[in-house]
Amino acid sequence: MDSAEDSSRRQEIQVSLKSIVESSDKWLGRLRRRESRVRLASSFLTTILVFAAVGSAVLGFVLSQGQLDALFQNANLARSVAGVVLLAGLISGFATYFLLKRKHEAKLKELSSLITEMKKANGVGGEGITKDALSLAEKIVTLLPQLVRKRDQDSLLFGVVAFIVAAIVGRNPAVAILVGAMVWLYFRYETTRTYEQEASKFEEQKRAFEQRKKDFIATL
């Protein structure tokens, strides 16, 4: 395989493989951005919920002890209690963020290592690049339905976050409910529309991929 034609063909293959690596990298970036948005929304929601829950519990305890006036009269004590409640919310938020980050990274780790391996292999013209590209294609096709499902659950999360943000900023429950519902319905509509289209498309792609594998083997 030393002819000029082969050398040129080999270069073409390297270019094709480079393009595969680049496309895969873009997909990985897109997946990471999506996970990051979900992570931020989840940790924000956790912070607010824990803050509200701990705050209510503390307030309930103070009320049951008939010490509400005493709490408000002692500014230092009131600030300390508020600080502890806020800290509990923030710690929960950060914990949620990092736990989800670990979970998301673990989910994408296989794909990420595969791309890194492909980059290395492509850089040095090493062996295994073809098999890795094939394995990557299969992993991507397998990952797609899971990602669509995840997106389906996210609409409620974004709706709740929008409701909380609107409630904090607008200080009007009616407006907050309206904003939350609108955001939820928008994402739900988008998700349903996308899900129906993409789910069938992805299933079709997976079937087509399997069929193409069989067909390709049969042509050899």
């Binding site: 395989m1 030393d2 082969d6 063909r9 293959i13 094709s16 493989l17 393009s19 595969i20 496309s23 895969s24 997909w27 897109r30 997946l31 013209g125 090493g126 062996e127 295994g128 690049i129 073809t130 098999k131 590209a133 094939l134 394995s135 990557l136 294609a137 991507i140 096709v141 797609l144 990602l147 498309k201 792609q205 087509a208 991929f209 193409r212 594998k213 390709f216 083997i217 042509t219 050899l220």
Partner: protein
């Protein structure tokens, strides 16, 4: 072997193509990362399908090399992977 694993076939073709010349069976088997009986099954399958050919060198040792059909299959495989990936939309 009725249903070969496309990943193994792909790696086999990749090794042979990138090496560019004839190779000893043990070298291919090591690079392929499968056990010897499994490697022999794939070698026989590849020989049967005309992807590789066996010959003897001056020391009468058996060497395996990619045939023009094997080279063409490798090119088609890479194009196929690219087409498949291009067709996947997130």
């Amino acid at each position: 072997m009725e249903k070969p694993d496309l990943y193994v076939v792909a790696r086999f073709l990749d090794i042979m193509y990138r090496n560019g010349s004839s190779m000893k069976k043990t070298n291919i088997q090591m690079l392929l990362g499968v056990n010897y009986p499994r490697f022999m099954e794939y070698l026989e399958w590849s020989l049967k399908h005309g992807l590789v050919a066996a010959s003897l060198d001056e020391e009468r040792a058996e060497r395996i090399m990619l045939t023009p059909k094997g080279v063409d299959s490798y090119h088609r495989l890479v194009d196929w992977i690219k087409e498949t990936l291009d067709g996947v939309k997130i």
